[in-house]
Symmetry: C2
Subunit: 426 residues, 2 copies
C-alpha cells in the first residue's frame, strides 16, 4: 500500500492549522481546506501506483487525508461508469456516460466515500462517538460504517425523511434523532452540539477531511475514461461540496501529469423547490439567497448550502451552467434513467437526469461532447416518490389460457414459436 | 479481452446437444449442463489472464458460456468479500468472511450475475423478448438488464411479492404479471409459456447458460481470498442452483491449477417456512418432499426446488449440513449483520446469517475454520420484514436544550468536550 502525501489544514490565506478536528478558521471565519504537498505527491500518486491498488477508493489514498498507520477496512467506491447510449438517444446526447454511485458499497450512495475518509480521521483523533446532520444518505453511511468500526453514532435528520432512509439508519443500531425542522435547522443544531460534546461530526468539525472523500468521484471518472477528462460534468448540488471536489480532483490530476489539461465545464443540478445555487448561477450572484426547501428531492434539500457561493462561482468560471427541475420532472428523470439504462436512482438522480436532458435541449451542452452525469444514490431509498405511478395490476390465475387472456387485455404482442407455426401448417 | 473456452450443452450421459435454448434432455428428462473443453481452458483461464481483466465477472469470461463476438456491456459483480470480525465475535467465529452481493451492480443481488450471462445468450439466439419466473430479485435484474439492452421483458411473479421488488421491476418498463399462486405455480406456467412463445426465459429454456453465471461467486471468493479455497461456505438455497455452481467453480479452479485442492464443506441455509432441501439433508433423503412456502424470506420461497436433490446430495457428500431458521430468527439475522458489519441485507441474508450462527453454535463449523457466508441481496428490497421493529421516536425541536433533554430521555451517555471541562474548572 503506497504512502500518503503530507497534508494539513489551511485557511484561505494559506495559514496552516496542522491537523485537528476543525472546519472554520477562527480568525477569518472561512472554511479550512486540506492542503497537500503536491511536489511530494509526484512520486506517490502515479497512474502506475494507482492501477496497482485495490478496486476501491483506497487506490487514491496517496492524495486523501489519511492518518498515518490507517489500514483501509472497507472496499468503498470504484463504482461503474457506464456509457448511456439509450438515454443519450432520447435526449440528443451522442457521448454520454453515467457515473453510478447508486451501487456504492456499503450503503448505495456517494456519501460512503466521504464517510470512510471522515471516520478514518475520527478514529485518529480519538473520537468514540461520531455524528452528522443529514438529509438521509449521509445518515445511512455514518450509521453503517460506524457500526462496522465499533464506534457509537448519533445522527440528526429532518423529521420528515423518507421511511427507507430512516430504517436504513436505525437498522445499524445508530441513535437517530429526528429534528422538527429542515436540514438547515438540523445543521445549525449540530454545530452547537459539536461545540459542547466530544464528538466527531463528520460534516461539522471533521468537514475538511470528510469533503476530500468526494474527490474520488473525479479521480474515478478520469481513470475510467482511460486517463482523460470529460468535456462536461453534471453534478447534483445540495451543500455544493461534491462539484467543487470533482474539480479539485481534476486539477490535481492535471498538475501531476496523470491527464492532459483541457477545459472542463461544470454543470450543477438542483430541484426547483430548493435551488439556491442554481438561482445564484442564473442570476450571476456572488452570494446565496437562502430558500425554504419544498421538494421531493430531500437529499438535496439544503436551503442555505455551506459551499454554495464557491460552487456557483466555479460553475460560471468553468463556462458551465446550473439548472433546476420540478418534482414532476424529477420523477420522469428517475423513470427515464431506469427505462433506458436499467439504473434505478433516487430522487436526486432524477434531478441530475432531468437537468442533463434540459442542458442538451437548451443547447448548453453540444451533442457530441463527452459528458458525465453523476448519479449519487439508489432508487430503493426513495420509493415513495413513485407512489401511485404504477397501478397494481390484477393477479392472474396460473393457467396458460388465463395468461393469454391477460396479455390480450394488456395489448401485449407476443410472438409465437416459429416451429409451432410450421407444425401447424403441415 | 481473452477468448472463451469451447462449450456445449450435455445431458447426464455426456450426450451433446450443441448450443440451443433448451434446458431438459428430451430423452432422459434430466437437466442439461454446460460442458467446457477444460483442456483448452488451461491456457485461457489463468490467474494472470483473470487478474488482467476488468473488475467484474467478465474477468472470468473464459469459463462462462459466452457466445462468440459478445462484448460485455455491464460491469456486473466482483462484489466485496469482507472480513466479519464483529459478527464473528458475536457468534464464536474467528475467521469469518461475508461475500456481499447486496451491492451487486446493477440491481443489488447475485441474480445480476446469472441474468447477464443468460441475456448474452438470449441475444445470440435472436430472442427479442425475454422472460422469467421470479421470487423478486431475478425480476429486478431481468427488467433492468433487458431495458439496458433494448429487449422486451415479460416477468411473472407470485402476486404477494414485496412492494419494493414489484416497483423495482416496473420502473424499468418491464411487463410484470402477478400470478395468483406461489413460485412453483409461476414456474410451471412459465414452462408452458416457453413452449408456446418465441421467448427466451432466462430460468427455463436458457437455464443451463443462466445457471453458469452463479459460478462467478465461487471464482470471486477464491480469488479474493488470495487464490485459495475456504474451509466452509454457507449459501442460501431457493432452487438449489447457487450452491452447486459455487462447487463447480471451485472444482474448475482446482482442475486448472489456480488453487490448491482441499476439502470444502458446503452448508445450505433455508427458512423453516420453506425448507425442502434442508429437510432432505437432515433426513438423508435422496428426493425432495415439496412444501407449500410460508415465510417472510420470499426470495427463497421455492417449495419444489429444481436443483434440490442434487444440492442435498452434494452438501452431504462434502461433509457439510443444512439448517433452517424461523421468521423471527431471520429478522434477528438481518439486524445482527447490520449492527455488527454495517451490511443491510434482505430476508434471505437474514436466513444465511442466522443459519451461520447456528452452525457455529451447534459445533458444525469449527471456530477457527475459514468460512464464507454468502449474502445475496439488499435489505432495502424487503423493508416490510422490519416493519414495527423500530418505533418512530418523537421529533425534537432544533435547540440545544431540547436535544439534551432528549438524550437524557433516551439514556444516551454523551461525553462533554475535555476543553470545556477544564475551562469550567478554572
Amino acid at each position: 500500500m503506497s504512502a500518503c502525501t503530507p497534508y494539513e489544514l489551511r485557511n484561505m490565506d494559506g495559514k496552516s492549522f496542522g491537523n485537528q478536528p476543525l472546519s472554520i478558521c477562527d480568525e477569518t471565519f472561512t472554511p479550512l481546506e486540506v492542503h497537500y504537498d503536491l511536489e511530494a505527491a509526484k512520486s506517490l500518486f502515479t497512474r502506475k501506483s494507482i492501477e496497482a491498488g485495490p478496486a476501491n477508493i483506497w487506490r487514491y489514498r496517496a492524495l486523501l487525508p489519511i492518518p498515518e498507520g490507517f489500514e483501509p477496512d472497507l472496499p468503498v467506491g470504484f463504482t461503474p461508469l457506464v456509457r448511456a447510449k439509450n438515454l443519450g438517444k432520447r435526449i440528443g446526447a451522442n457521448n454520454l456516460y453515467v457515473k453510478n454511485d447508486a451501487v456504492c458499497f456499503p450503503t448505495l450512495s456517494f456519501k460512503d466515500r466521504v464517510v470512510s475518509v471522515a471516520l478514518a480521521n475520527a478514529q485518529a483523533f480519538g473520537f468514540t462517538t461520531v455524528g452528522c446532520s443529514s438529509t438521509g444518505n449521509l445518515a445511512n453511511s455514518v450509521a453503517a460504517q460506524a457500526a462496522r468500526l465499533g464506534i457509537k453514532a448519533c445522527i440528526l435528520v429532518p423529521a420528515d425523511l423518507e421511511p427507507a432512509k430512516i430504517l436504513n439508519t436505525l437498522v445499524y443500531g445508530a441513535q437517530l434523532v429526528r429534528i422538527d425542522g429542515n436540514y438547515d435547522h438540523v445543521n445549525r443544531l449540530c454545530s452547537l452540539i459539536a461545540d459542547q460534546y466530544n464528538w466527531g461530526f463528520v460534516n461539522v468539525n471533521l468537514r475538511p477531511y470528510y469533503a476530500e472523500g468526494s474527490k474520488t468521484v473525479g479521480y474515478e471518472i478520469a481513470e475510467q475514461l482511460g486517463w482523460r477528462l470529460p468535456d462536461n460534468v453534471v453534478v447534483p448540488m445540495a451543500g455544493g461540496s461534491l462539484i467543487r471536489k470533482i474539480r479539485k480532483a481534476f486539477k490535481e490530476l492535471v498538475y501531476l501529469g496523470l491527464v492532459e489539461d483541457k477545459p472542463v465545464r461544470f454543470f450543477g443540478a438542483q430541484a426547483t423547490g430548493c435551488s439556491p445555487i442554481s438561482h445564484a448561477v442564473k442570476n450571476n450572484l456572488d452570494h446565496i439567497e437562502p430558500q425554504r426547501p419544498n421538494t421531493i428531492a430531500r437529499s438535496l434539500a439544503i436551503g442555505n448550502p455551506a459551499d454554495g457561493p464557491q460552487a456557483a462561482k466555479m460553475i460560471r468560471e468553468s463556462g458551465g451552467w446550473a439548472e433546476d427541475v420540478s418534482d414532476v420532472e424529477i420523477v420522469s428523470g428517475m423513470q427515464e434513467l431506469a427505462e433506458t439504462e436499467g439504473i434505478f436512482t433516487e430522487t436526486a438522480g432524477g434531478v441530475t437526469t432531468a437537468v442533463t436532458a434540459r442542458l442538451y435541449a437548451h443547447g448548453r451542452i453540444h451533442p457530441d461532447d463527452l459528458t458525465v452525469s453523476c448519479i449519487t444514490g439508489n432508487g430503493l431509498k426513495t420509493t415513495d416518490a413513485l407512489a401511485g405511478k404504477y397501478e397494481a395490476q390484477r393477479a392472474v390465475r396460473p393457467r396458460l389460457s388465463d395468461f393469454e387472456e391477460y396479455l390480450r387485455e394488456m395489448n401485449y404482442a407476443a410472438e409465437a414459436k416459429p416451429e409451432l407455426v410450421l407444425a401447424g401448417g403441415k
